[in-house]
C-alpha cells in the first residue's frame, strides 16, 4: 500500500465510497461535494486521487502522455493486478499500440460510414414507435424503447447472428461494473462471466459475422494489414462491450428528461431538428458513463498537489458535466443550451469511438417519437439500476399522448 500523500501537498481527503449503493442511487450530492472541495481530492477508501471539476477532468482526458490508459481505466492497476479479461485494444491501450485499432474502428464507425444506415434506422425507429403505440400508450420505457431499439438495430449493424443476443446487456453491465472495486455488483456478475465471455468471444470470429456489418469491416481491415488478424476479434469485442448498454441508458435518460421537462418536449415536437442537441444535452445531464480512471505516467501537478507517477486518478465525467464553473444552471435540461464540449463521451484520443452511432440511434428514436407523441409523463416512480460505472434506469414508467 502507498502512504497517504504528504501533508504539505495534501489535497482534501474524502472518505466517501463513490461505488456504494447509497451514492449510486443519487451521486449528485457527492459530485457537488468533491467538486467544491478543490481541483483534486484524495479518496481515502480506495487510496486514489480524483478530479470532479470540468477543467481538471478535461485536462486529464486529453493528456494521454501523462495520464495513461494502459494500466486499466478502472480501479484495478493492470501493472500489479491481473485483468478479468484480456485488456481492450482501444480503451485500455495507449499510443503507439492504440493507433491502428483506433484508426480502423474510427473509420468503420465514422460519420461518413454511417450515412448509409441513416435511412434504415429512421425507418426502423418509425416502425418500432408505431408498434409500441399501437399496443398501448402506458408502458415502462426502459424495456419497451430504450432496450428495444438498440437491440433491434445494433446487433444487425455489427452482423451478429440471431442466437444469444440476450447476452449483450448482461455482458456490458458486468464489464462496466468491473471498472469499479470488487464489490457486490461485480460478485453478482461473476458466476456468469465464463458463459457471457464465451458467447462474446464466439461472436467476434470472422465466421460468426455477416458479410456486410461493422464486424466484417473490421476483419476486412485485418485483410488489408491495417490491424493484425489477432487484433481483429478484440476490436469487434469492443463494439459488443461498449455499444449496447451505454446507448440503452442514454435513451432512458432522454425519455426521463423529457418526461420531467414537458416544456422541452413541446419544443422538440415543434422543432424535431433539435433532436441532436437534445441527445447531447441529455448525455451532459445524465452522463451514462459516470467515471473512468487514468494512471499517472510521471509526477503530475493538479491544483497545488503533485500526484506521484503510477497513481490512479478517478475522473468524474458526470460531475464535470454539471460543473457551474463551466455550465450555466447546470442541473437544467435545456434545449437552448449548447452542450458542445461536454465530457460524457470523454475527450481526446479515447473519446467514444461509437458516439456517432449513438447519436444516429437517438436521433432516429427522437424524431420518430416527435412525429407521433404530444406529451410524455411519468406514471410512477422511476427506479435506478446500479452499476459501478454507468448511471442507469431499471424502470421509467410513462404515459404518452398521441397526436
Amino acid at each position: 500500500m502507498t502512504l497517504a500523500p504528504s501533508p504539505a501537498l495534501s489535497p482534501p481527503i474524502e472518505d466517501v465510497d463513490p461505488f456504494s449503493h447509497e451514492v449510486l442511487e443519487d451521486p449528485l450530492p457527492m459530485h457537488e461535494r468533491l467538486r467544491e472541495a478543490g481541483p483534486l481530492v484524495y479518496l481515502s477508501r480506495y487510496d486514489v486521487f480524483a478530479v470532479a471539476r470540468y477543467a481538471e477532468v478535461h485536462a486529464a482526458l486529453v493528456d494521454w502522455q501523462e495520464f495513461e490508459s494502459g494500466a486499466g481505466v478502472g480501479l484495478s492497476n493492470f501493472r500489479t493486478e491481473e485483468p478479468w479479461r484480456p485488456p481492450s485494444l482501444l480503451l485500455e491501450a495507449d499510443p503507439p499500440r492504440h493507433d491502428a485499432p483506433r484508426r480502423v474502428l474510427s473509420r468503420v464507425l465514422g460519420p461518413r460510414a454511417l450515412r448509409q444506415l441513416h435511412d434504415r434506422w429512421t425507418a426502423d425507429a418509425d416502425q418500432l414507435v408505431d408498434q409500441v403505440l399501437s399496443a398501448g400508450t402506458e408502458f415502462d420505457a426502459v424495456p419497451t424503447l430504450s432496450e428495444a431499439f438498440p437491440l433491434r438495430v445494433f446487433p444487425d449493424a455489427v452482423g451478429l447472428g440471431p442466437e444469444g443476443r440476450e447476452h449483450l446487456l448482461p455482458y456490458g453491465d458486468h464489464a462496466f461494473n468491473a471498472f469499479g472495486p470488487d464489490n457486490d455488483l461485480v460478485a453478482k456478475g461473476a458466476p456468469h462471466v465464463a458463459e457471457l465471455s464465451g458467447w462474446v468471444g464466439e461472436q467476434c470470429r470472422r465466421e460468426s459475422l455477416s458479410a456486410d456489418g461493422f464486424g466484417a469491416a473490421i476483419w476486412a481491415a485485418a485483410d488489408r494489414g491495417e490491424i493484425t488478424p489477432q487484433q481483429a476479434p478484440f476490436v469487434v469485442r469492443s463494439l459488443l462491450t461498449a455499444g449496447v448498454d451505454t446507448t440503452v441508458h442514454a435513451l432512458s435518460a432522454i425519455v426521463h428528461a423529457f418526461a420531467t421537462n414537458p416544456d422541452q418536449w413541446s419544443r422538440l415536437v415543434a422543432d424535431p431538428a433539435l433532436a441532436r442537441v437534445a441527445f447531447d444535452e441529455a448525455i451532459r445531464l445524465e452522463s451514462p458513463v459516470q467515471t473512468f480512471f487514468r494512471t499517472t505516467t510521471t509526477d503530475v501537478r493538479i491544483g497545488d498537489t503533485v500526484v506521484p507517477a503510477g497513481r490512479k486518478v478517478l475522473m468524474f465525467l458526470a460531475a464535470a458535466n454539471r460543473d457551474p464553473r463551466r455550465w450555466t444552471d447546470p442541473d437544467r435540461f435545456d434545449l437552448s443550451r449548447d452542450p458542445s464540449g461536454h465530457v460524457g463521451f470523454g475527450m481526446g484520443l479515447h473519446q467514444c469511438v461509437g458516439q456517432h452511432v449513438a447519436r444516429l440511434e437517438a436521433e432516429a428514436v427522437l424524431t420518430a417519437l416527435a412525429r407521433r407523441v404530444r406529451t410524455i409523463e411519468l406514471t410512477g416512480t422511476p427506479r435506478r439500476h446500479h452499476n459501478n460505472t454507468l448511471r442507469a434506469w431499471a424502470s421509467v414508467p410513462v404515459r404518452f399522448t398521441v397526436a
Partner: protein
C-alpha cells in the same frame, strides 16, 4: 442567462487550433531547415500519429503539406522539415528566406495518409527530405521493439538532414549519399521479399518508382509510399470574408477571416453541435450543397475531400465566395 457558456465559448475560441506560431527555425542540413511550431497560446496541439502531415498556409494563401517529424510525446509543439526547392512554386523559398520565429501560419490537420501498420519488422526507405515522416516511424518501431532497417539515400552527406539523430542506431541505418557511392541498387539493398515486413518509402518520384519496381516480388500491400504532390486547390486559401448560406433556414451568415464557420453560425444564433473543435471527432459534420470547402480537418481522406459534399465547420472554411450548407 448563458453568460458562463458564452464566456467559455470565448475562452474556447481563444484556444485557436487553426493557427500555429513559428517558435524556432533551425538549419539542419544544406538547404534544409526545421520549424518548431507551437499553438499561439502555448497549449496542446491536436494529436497525431507517425506518417501524419499538416497543411501550413503561408503568406499569400499558399498551402503546403509537411510531414510531422517531431516527438508526439511533446504535446505542445510540432516539428517539420523544409527543403529549399529553387524551382518550386515559392512555398519553400518563402519558408527559407522570409519566415521567422514569431510568425503565424494557418494550420490544417494533422491528417495521416501514410499510417504505420502493426508488424514485427519494417523496412524504411527515405530519399532526401522524404526522411521526415520516417523519423517518427523509427521512434515508434523502437518503442515497440520491432526489427527495422532504414535505407536513406541523398545527393551528398551535407544535404541529408537528421544524420546526427540517426547515428545512434548503428547498422540498422544505411546512409547512401550518391556522390560517394553512386546509385543505390534498391532491389539488392532490400533483399529477398519478406512476408510480414511492410516497406515504407518516402522521397522523390524517381525513388518511389524505383522502389515499386524493386518490390514487384513482395507480397501485395507490403509497399506503402507517400508522394508529395502539391495540393491543387482551385484557388489560394482565402484571406477575405465569405458567405455561408443556410439552405433549410434560408439565412445568410458572413464569416470573417478570424472566426471559424462554427463561431460565425453560433454568433448568428445557429447552434451546430460540436465537441473537439479541432477537426478530429467528426461531431459537427455538415452537408455541403454548393460551394467549395477548404478542408482543414483530420478526418476526410483525399477522395472524400474531393467529393466536397461535407465539411467540419469547427476548422474548415471556404475556398469559394459562398458555401451553401444543409442547415
Amino acid at each position: 442567462m448563458l453568460a458562463t457558456e458564452q464566456s467559455s465559448r470565448a475562452r474556447r475560441s481563444g484556444v485557436d487550433r487553426t493557427m500555429v506560431r513559428v517558435a524556432e527555425k533551425t538549419r539542419v542540413a544544406e538547404d534544409v531547415v526545421t520549424l518548431t511550431l507551437t499553438a499561439p497560446d502555448g497549449g496542446r496541439l491536436p494529436d497525431w500519429t507517425p506518417g501524419a502531415h499538416v497543411d501550413l498556409t503561408l503568406e499569400g494563401g499558399l498551402t503546403r503539406q509537411y510531414s510531422l517529424c517531431g516527438d508526439r510525446w511533446a504535446p505542445s509543439s510540432y516539428r517539420v522539415g523544409v527543403l529549399l526547392e529553387p524551382t518550386g512554386r515559392g512555398g519553400s523559398r518563402h519558408v527559407h528566406e522570409q519566415l521567422e520565429p514569431g510568425h503565424l501560419l494557418g494550420l490544417g490537420g494533422p491528417r495521416n495518409n501514410f499510417p504505420l501498420v502493426p508488424a514485427g519488422s519494417y523496412l524504411f526507405v527515405a530519399g532526401g527530405i522524404g526522411i521526415t515522416p520516417i523519423l517518427p516511424m523509427i521512434a515508434q518501431a523502437e518503442l515497440l521493439g520491432a526489427d527495422w532497417r532504414l535505407l536513406y539515400v541523398g545527393r551528398r552527406r551535407s544535404s541529408m538532414a537528421f544524420l546526427d539523430e540517426l547515428s545512434g542506431h548503428g547498422d540498422r541505418v544505411l546512409v547512401h549519399p550518391r556522390e560517394e557511392f553512386g546509385r543505390l541498387d534498391l532491389a539488392d539493398a532490400l533483399g529477398r521479399p519478406r512476408p510480414g515486413t511492410p516497406v515504407y518509402g518516402c522521397g522523390p518520384a524517381s525513388l518511389l518508382t524505383a522502389l515499386e519496381a524493386a518490390c514487384a516480388d513482395w507480397p501485395a500491400r507490403a509497399l506503402h509510399t507517400e508522394r508529395f504532390v502539391a495540393a491543387e486547390h482551385g484557388a489560394p486559401v482565402r484571406t477575405t470574408p465569405f458567405e455561408v448560406e443556410l439552405h433549410r433556414s434560408r439565412r445568410r451568415v458572413a464569416v470573417a477571416p478570424d472566426v471559424s464557420v462554427l463561431e460565425a453560425l453560433a454568433a448568428a444564433g445557429v447552434e451546430v453541435l460540436s465537441s473537439c473543435r479541432q477537426g478530429t471527432c467528426g461531431t459537427c459534420e455538415t452537408t455541403v450543397l454548393a460551394g467549395v470547402p477548404d478542408h482543414r480537418d483530420s478526418l476526410l481522406d483525399d477522395d472524400e475531400r474531393a467529393a466536397g459534399d461535407c465539411m467540419y465547420p469547427c476548422v474548415s472554411r471556404s475556398l469559394s465566395d459562398r458555401l451553401v450548407l444543409d442547415l
